[in-house]
């Protein structure tokens, strides 16, 4: 099989999967057929991207398909790589639907969703790009609505659809402005035409694209749909949406910023950097207050998109200042984090799905002690949690390290008042990653550790094998992607090289041995993630040996948890998720504006005896309340006004039609003549 057949394989198998779901909407066979389509499709996408990346990085070889350039190959690879475990996971996950829900819609849409995401990255012209972009939006909307009977799903779907169409408007406008006079929607033609535009117009195009793609990526303040839509979807779809789909927003920004506009003034980068830093910080701060496991993860997607955009923004800034070597570093950091985030966020959503599958709830306050009931799921979730908290030697750490290094290179920016952004971004990134660690101690600790807080948690069961395999594969991916940093960074460097006139040979010089050495001017750092991994494993193995050698006691006795000698320990004595986040809620009270109300029911006989205490703590959803609600209110009011023309009479509508036609013809005459 030549690599030329791969795109055909990819499209065919996705379509076959979709068709199979339509034909056999029920039963074990359906689940397997749907998944097989998606797995083969994902594998072909991965192979296609891999072939292209090999070709571009090794040079030579013949260009099998000019439609794949290295940048799209990276994103295609991400789609394919997450599609496989997600589809496999779906086999086990959707078994619970048996007899309750038809698999027709979700199965078909899953395959179409994957297909359109893959093809968005491959599209080389406006038409197909927008076509598949919209296909991706609609199929994912339908996937979100799978469990429309659950409370909140419809609302989440509406938000999602609204925001995605809002974004599409901006993307279309950006494309429209770039359209050459001959109307050719080819990206190469667009890029050529972009060179002839005035700087002001180019900036406008970029801003429009940033808003459009930023709303898909979940950049603050366009993130509001994300925390409600991602959790509402079935978990393997959440993994795809959070792990892959929002990354296409990053792809869009890179497509416009680098490929179509060919780089721009430094303030573009500055804007992206600032939005990224704000998203990173606000994302994690809101995640900390969230006790719905999947919503928490969704907020972390905002945080990680922020980190990606910090890298991308830094890269664009350096490019604007003519520092290509550092620019490569920034973009590499962003891309690397894109891949890593896809891996660990996919893993975490799958893990959360298993918990949901086992307990039937997403509320962390009703979980606890799951590590004993679901040992493998919890191990995999732990790996994901450590990776997203940027703990070495896992992948999250390595990519954040590259982003840090790029920011440290900020001292090379000649304009010092702009360079100030870099240390500020460093501080915000560091705070975000510290808070992320705190948040995942909460997420893992409250969910999996301690004593079960509800009957469901006590009765939880381990996930089916397919789900375990999917999670295990992604957990391995987290370890592996971290370990191979010394190969990944140069490879990604070559992907970025060539875009927007960046140097073909990445200035991030590399020692292929164990270590990774960055030596852009102003930023020099050296680590060896493989070395750290091996070192930690060796040391970890050495300690028990040393304990044995030095004859440390091996006596072990199991006894009650120490609780100052209290008679019985109950789950209610444990720290809750709310309590865990309480110090931070107080510290960042200015942001959260928390309100608490405590209502106490006293015993009728005496106020000294309390029957029950209800405690509610809420935070003000700032963006929803102050940014979106006024707009929505305004629109609703306006729509109410428009209702006046809805008479319901057919004649009235025909009159409108005729009137519109007349006006249009008049306009045509006016301009055309």
């Amino acid at each position: 099989m030549t690599s030329a057949a791969l795109p055909v394989w990819m499209v065919t198998s996705y379509l076959a999967g979709a068709l199979a779901a339509c034909l056999f909407p029920r039963g074990r066979l359906a689940r397997w057929l749907t998944a097989t389509g998606a797995v083969i499709g994902g594998a072909s996408a991965l192979a296609l991207a891999g072939a292209e990346l090999m070709r571009s990085s090794l040079g030579g070889g013949q260009e099998a398909f000019h439609i794949v350039d290295p940048l799209s190959a990276v994103f295609l690879a991400v789609v394919g790589a997450i599609a496989i475990p997600a589809a496999l996971y779906g086999v086990g996950y959707t078994r619970a639907w048996e007899g309750r829900r038809s698999l027709r819609m979700p199965g078909a849409m899953l395959n179409l969703f994957l297909l359109s995401m893959s093809l968005v990255t491959l599209a080389d012209g406006i038409f197909w790009f927008v076509f598949f972009w919209e296909g991706m939006a609609i199929s994912s909307y339908l996937l979100v609505m799978t469990e429309a009977d659950e409370p909140g799903t419809v609302r989440a779907g509406n938000w999602y659809l609204g925001m995605t169409q809002f974004g599409l408007g901006f993307i279309l406008a950006a494309f429209f402005l770039l359209l050459p006079p001959d109307g050719s929607g080819d990206f190469t033609a667009l890029a050529m035409h972009a060179q002839t535009l005035s700087p002001g117009l180019r900036s406008l195009v970029f801003i429009l694209a940033l808003i459009g793609f930023g709303s898909k990526a979940g950049l603050v303040p366009l993130h509001v749909w994300l925390p409600s839509a991602h959790p509402a979807a079935p978990s393997h779809v959440s993994a795809l949406m959070s792990g892959v789909m929002i990354k296409l927003g990053v792809y869009g920004v890179l497509l416009f910023g680098l490929r179509l506009l060919g780089g721009g003034p430094a303030w573009w980068g500055g804007l992206v950097l600032v939005l990224g830093a704000v998203s990173a910080l606000l994302g994690v701060l809101y995640a900390l207050m969230e006790h719905d496991l999947k919503r928490l993860l969704a907020y972390h997607s905002i945080e990680n998109i922020g980190i990606i955009f910090i890298g991308v923004g830094a890269g664009m800034m350096f490019l604007g200042y003519g520092l290509p070597a550092l620019a490569v570093l920034g973009f590499v950091g962003g891309l690397y984090h894109t891949i890593n985030h896809a891996c660990f966020k996919g893993l975490l959503f799958l893990g959360a799905g298993s918990v949901l599958h086992a307990t039937g709830t997403r509320n962390m306050e009703e979980m606890g002690g799951l590590i004993k009931r679901m040992p493998r799921t919890s191990l995999f979730f732990l790996v994901g949690a450590a990776a997203i908290s940027a703990l070495p030697p896992l992948n999250g750490f390595v990519s954040e390290w590259v982003v840090f290094q790029a920011l440290l290179g900020g001292s090379a920016i000649p304009q010092r008042e702009v360079a100030v952004l870099m240390p500020i971004a460093v501080a915000m990134l560091a705070l975000a990653s510290g808070l992320a660690a705190a948040c995942f101690v909460k997420a893992f600790g409250i969910t999996f550790l301690g004593i079960a807080r509800s009957h469901e948690a006590r009765e939880a069961h381990e996930a089916p094998v397919t789900m375990q395999v999917a999670m295990g594969a992604l957990a391995l991916g987290c370890v592996a992607l971290g370990a191979v940093a010394s190969a990944m960074v140069p490879a990604l460097g070559r992907v970025v090289a060539g875009l927007a006139g960046m140097p073909p040979a990445p200035a991030t010089a590399v020692g292929w041995s164990l270590g990774l050495r960055l030596s852009a001017p102003g930023a020099v750092g050296q680590i060896s993630s493989l070395g750290i991994l091996l070192g930690l494993v060796l040391l970890l193995a050495a300690i028990p040996v040393a304990l044995w050698l030095f004859r440390a006691s091996r006596a072990l006795r199991v006894s009650d948890t120490w609780g100052c000698g209290r008679i019985a320990q109950t789950p209610r004595m444990q720290y809750t998720a709310t309590a865990f986040a309480e110090p931070l809620r107080r510290i960042f009270a200015a942001l959260y504006r928390p309100t608490e109300d405590v209502s106490i029911d006293f015993h009728p006989e005496s106020r000294y005896f309390v029957q029950s205490i209800a405690y509610h703590a809420r935070i003000v959803p700032w963006f929803e309340r102050y940014l979106y609600d006024p707009v929505i209110d305004r629109v609703t009011a306006w729509a109410g006004g428009v209702r006046a023309i809805q008479s319901g009479s057919l004649h009235a509508y025909l009159t409108y039609l005729v009137a519109a036609l007349v006006i249009l013809l008049g306009l045509l005459l006016l301009w055309g003549g």
Partner: protein, 171 residues
């Protein structure tokens, strides 16, 4: 700066432990040599108030003062029985504290010692026969040393602990 000049003017005030009255400290069980060797110079003490009038506690808090300075013997008070090697129990064991005392003893990793401080801990003192009292400490958990007195002086308590460890007060 006034603080530090006062510190320097005062100098070290820790006093040697006098040998004292031999009738006050009663060794119930001889501690084995291994435990003595291990715990002799590094001892975590968990104080358990099993129902005392707090008179003994006031004296025990004197152990940490600069004058008696139990830290020079390698003793320190710990926050959890898991970290402890020796339980310092005071008071007659009340019915409410019976289970907690057992649980504390259970929570302490072996090898462990118990020193019961005060007359109440030994004989239930004036609370003897009360409906609220479950018994003396040795009726609930095994005791190694009793220190008598109502309340015993800090020096006596130190001697009691040292006796449990098989050490002489001179150290």
């Amino acid at each position: 700066m006034g603080l530090f000049s006062k510190i320097f003017r005062t100098g070290i005030v820790s006093e040697a432990i006098p040998s004292g009255d031999p009738d006050i400290v009663h060794l119930v069980r001889e501690v084995d040599a291994r435990s003595r060797r291990l715990l002799g110079r590094a001892l975590g003490i968990r104080e358990v108030d099993a129902g005392s009038c707090n008179g003994c506690e006031i004296e025990i808090s004197g152990l940490m003062s600069p004058v008696y300075d139990s830290e020079r013997f390698g003793f320190h008070f710990v926050a959890s029985p898991r970290h402890a090697d020796l339980l310092l129990v005071t008071g007659p064991v009340t019915r409410n504290m019976e289970v907690p005392l057992r649980k504390t003893y259970e929570a302490t990793p072996a090898p462990k010692l118990v020193v019961a401080v005060g007359d109440c801990a030994h004989t239930c003192g004036v609370f003897k026969g009360s409906y609220a009292v479950a018994g003396s400490v040795d009726q609930i958990i095994p005791v190694d040393v009793f220190v008598d007195g109502c309340p015993p002086e800090p020096a006596d308590i130190l001697r009691g602990i040292l006796t449990a460890l098989g050490r002489s007060p001179r150290a």
